[in-house]
């Protein structure tokens, strides 16, 4: 069998999904080499696949499309493998097989979902991503990580259950389980949209992300940041491109998390909020739905996975070395970790869409598409969010971790494997920014867009420089809110505080009522028993045993009365 035929006979993702299960058999350098080989082999397989390939099986009366290859799934497939490779390097120093198996099976499951041609296969991988990834959170081995992991699992599996409900209804409606464009035409597809929306962190469905990701292990968060949400972006792109409500959902997602990001103290949680904001740009692009907007969404997902991983890696390195990632306790770390600081700044410049960095060449497609298609209000919000993301991710993250007031903390530079992983991601961020043509080449549609025009560069620089000026002025004059140790209420308050409080109240009320009822019934029962005892008890009038003499007397009286009556009758 040739390599090409072999590549076409195995669904992508299985290499990592199945291969990862063998990791515990190896030790030391062999284990490292084996783990690095898995995403490389997976990527080679993708490079051999031709667009248009299908692999179907018939089972339970359904035709399952285990392998469907087109340009959309290929682009996401490439970046998922690159992300897995970089994340494995970043985690090489970890001597915990659970995390390695979890990370790579998770990457494999997410990749498998990209090439699922039908909704049932998609559902299987969809649930697998939830079950495999949760161990990256549990592996932190703290009580709060355990609780966050359980909440994460319930919500992720819940998304899968909704997806399955939608699929069944959709099959009843149309008789089809094909995963193509779905649109918002029926209750079934609306339910599927909500299922996708949970994983894509739509507003009000978003909080699992900020809750769980910062609780995962240093290396686990890097894996998590890449796959789940971008799988949802892929699924939305395929199923709901051009669904207008997504424009409004998307712009809401770009705007509201940045307010939280400004006041959040846990810097990995700040990144989780900005991840949410970046997903908003992609969802907006899907909602606009033109070729340019879809290209923008896909390109932005590609560059986003790299710079977001880079940012999480740099903050993970700080957490690894210093033991905390709270802004209120950090500062001045550029002296101890200059390389990590430099890589963090590259990630920050990329997410902020500075010219020559990756975010610039991908986000511009979405914002231009919004302007060209007459989404004026959305365009204004996207611009606000662009300034805001620079403000909280681009400046706040490096500033409070590496600069600001010197915390006096001194530590070693990040381990070599972390630096290599960050270096690769940073090289991609700059490479894509400087030379975007190869990325544009693999997008689903022909790209007719030049990012480096004088207008684009000037307007973007102006926006960013003045955002930086605003930050500098606010810091200089003491207006900027200080980093404080705190918890900020978000939607999770509903199920972490309000829900349990309500349930406790209801249970207490039922308990109280039951006790009252019991006491009341007891009282009434006592009265009844007392009454019966009074009348029918040993002393009761009705139950008294009468002596024989009295009975004879009564009989004599009755007979006497009868005799007298008969005389007069």
């Amino acid at each position: 069998m040739t390599a090409s035929a072999l590549a076409h006979s195995v669904p992508p993702g299985l290499v990592m999904l199945i291969g990862a299960l063998l990791i515990p058999l190896f030790r030391g350098h062999i284990r490292s080499a084996y783990m690095l080989a898995l995403p490389v082999i997976g990527l080679l397989q993708l490079l051999l696949l031709d667009s248009g390939t299908h692999l179907s099986v018939q089972t339970l009366g359904l035709q399952l499309d285990l392998l469907r290859v087109d340009q959309l799934s290929l682009v996401f497939g490439y970046i998922f493998h690159i992300a897995a490779f970089v994340s494995v390097i970043y985690a090489l120093h970890v001597n915990d097989a659970t995390q390695h198996v979890s990370g790579l099976t998770y990457a494999g499951a997410a990749t498998g979902a990209l090439f699922a041609g039908d909704l049932v296969t998609l559902f299987v991988y969809w649930e697998l991503t939830a079950v495999t990834s949760v161990f990256l959170i549990f592996a932190r081995r703290t009580p709060s990580a355990y609780r966050a992991g359980m909440r994460y699992l319930v919500i992720q599996v819940g998304s899968g259950v909704l997806l399955l409900t939608g699929i069944i209804l959709h099959h009843i409606d149309t008789g089809s389980i094909a995963f193509d464009h779905l649109g918002l035409g029926s209750p079934a597809t609306a339910i599927i949209l909500v299922a996708f929306g949970i994983k894509a962190a739509f507003p009000l469905l978003h909080n699992w992300l900020q809750d769980a990701y910062p609780e995962a292990t240093v290396t686990g968060t890097v894996f998590l940041s890449a796959f789940t949400t971008k799988l949802a972006i892929y699924a939305l792109t395929r199923g709901y491109a051009g669904t207008e409500i997504l424009v409004w959902i998307g712009v809401t997602m770009t705007a509201f998390p940045i307010f939280y990001a400004v006041i959040e103290n846990d810097l990995r949680r700040v990144l989780a909020y900005s991840l949410n904001n970046q997903l908003g740009f992609m969802v907006t692009g899907i909602g606009i739905g033109t070729d340019m907007a879809i290209n923008g969404t896909v390109a932005h997902a590609f560059s986003h996975i790299l710079y977001k991983a880079l940012l999480f890696m740099s903050m993970g390195a700080v957490l690894h070395r210093v033991g905390t990632i709270k802004g209120s306790e950090l500062g001045g770390l550029y002296k101890s970790m200059p390389w990590t600081a430099a890589f963090c700044i590259v990630g920050a410049a990329s997410i902020s869409a500075f010219p020559l960095f990756s975010g610039f060449i991908s986000k511009a497609l979405i914002i231009t598409a919004a302007a060209e298609n007459g989404y004026f209000i959305s365009w204004l919000i996207l611009l606000f969010a662009s300034a805001g993301v620079f403000h909280h991710s681009g400046i706040k993250i490096p500033y409070f971790a590496f600069f600001a007031h010197d915390s006096g903390k001194r530590c070693a530079e990040a381990p070599w494997n972390m630096l290599v992983a960050m270096g690769i991601a940073a090289a991609f961020c700059i490479g894509i920014g400087v030379y975007p043509a190869p990325l544009y080449e693999i997008l689903p549609f022909q790209v007719d867009f030049a990012p480096y025009t004088p207008t684009h560069v000037l307007t973007q620089l102006q926006l960013l420089l003045f955002s930086a000026l605003a930050f500098a002025v606010l810091i200089r004059y003491g207006v900027y809110p200080p980093e404080l140790r705190s918890t900020n209420l978000d939607v999770d308050w509903l199920y972490r505080r309000l829900g349990p409080t309500l349930i406790k109240r209801v249970v207490a009320w039922i308990d109280h009522s039951a006790r009252l009822l019991k006491e009341d019934t007891k009282g009434q029962l006592k009265d009844f028993v007392d009454g019966v005892t009074r009348h029918h008890g040993p002393e009761g009038a009705m139950a008294r045993t009468w002596p024989t003499g009295a009975t004879v007397l009564w009989v004599a009286i009755l007979l006497g009365a009868f005799l007298i009556a008969s005389f007069y009758a």
Binding site: P143, F384, A387, D406, R410, C411, T455, L463, L465, S467
Partner: protein
């Protein structure tokens, strides 16, 4: 084995905590206030240059509002100041103590 235990500070650095004024430690460029001032004024100059760019370059605009002189700079500045001030207000409603949720469990 967990990986999140912080590494010990380098033995060479002696006591675990150093203050910036520690005379044994190298003084970095940014440790001096006058250099921080230089960064701030440098940023002001860059902002000025980017506004000057509006005079020099004929911008191709899609929306009318973009044609306003220095629109992007003005919008970026106002957006960020507004964002921070709004977030500060929001903190009054949203901020709870750090172990707020842990109390229950």
């Amino acid at each position: 084995m967990t990986q999140d235990t912080p590494q010990q500070p380098k033995p060479a650095s002696g006591s675990p905590k150093h203050t910036p004024s520690d005379n044994k430690e190298r003084v970095y460029w940014l440790d001096q206030t006058k250099n921080v001032d230089k960064v701030f004024y440098g940023l002001c100059v860059l902002c000025g240059l980017s506004v000057a760019g509006d005079l020099l370059i004929h911008r191709h605009v899609i929306l009318e509002i973009e044609a306003i002189f220095a629109f992007y700079g003005f919008y970026g500045f106002v957006a960020c100041v507004g964002l921070v001030l709004a977030a500060k207000e929001l903190r009054k409603f949203l901020k709870r103590k750090e172990n707020y949720y842990d109390d229950d469990s």
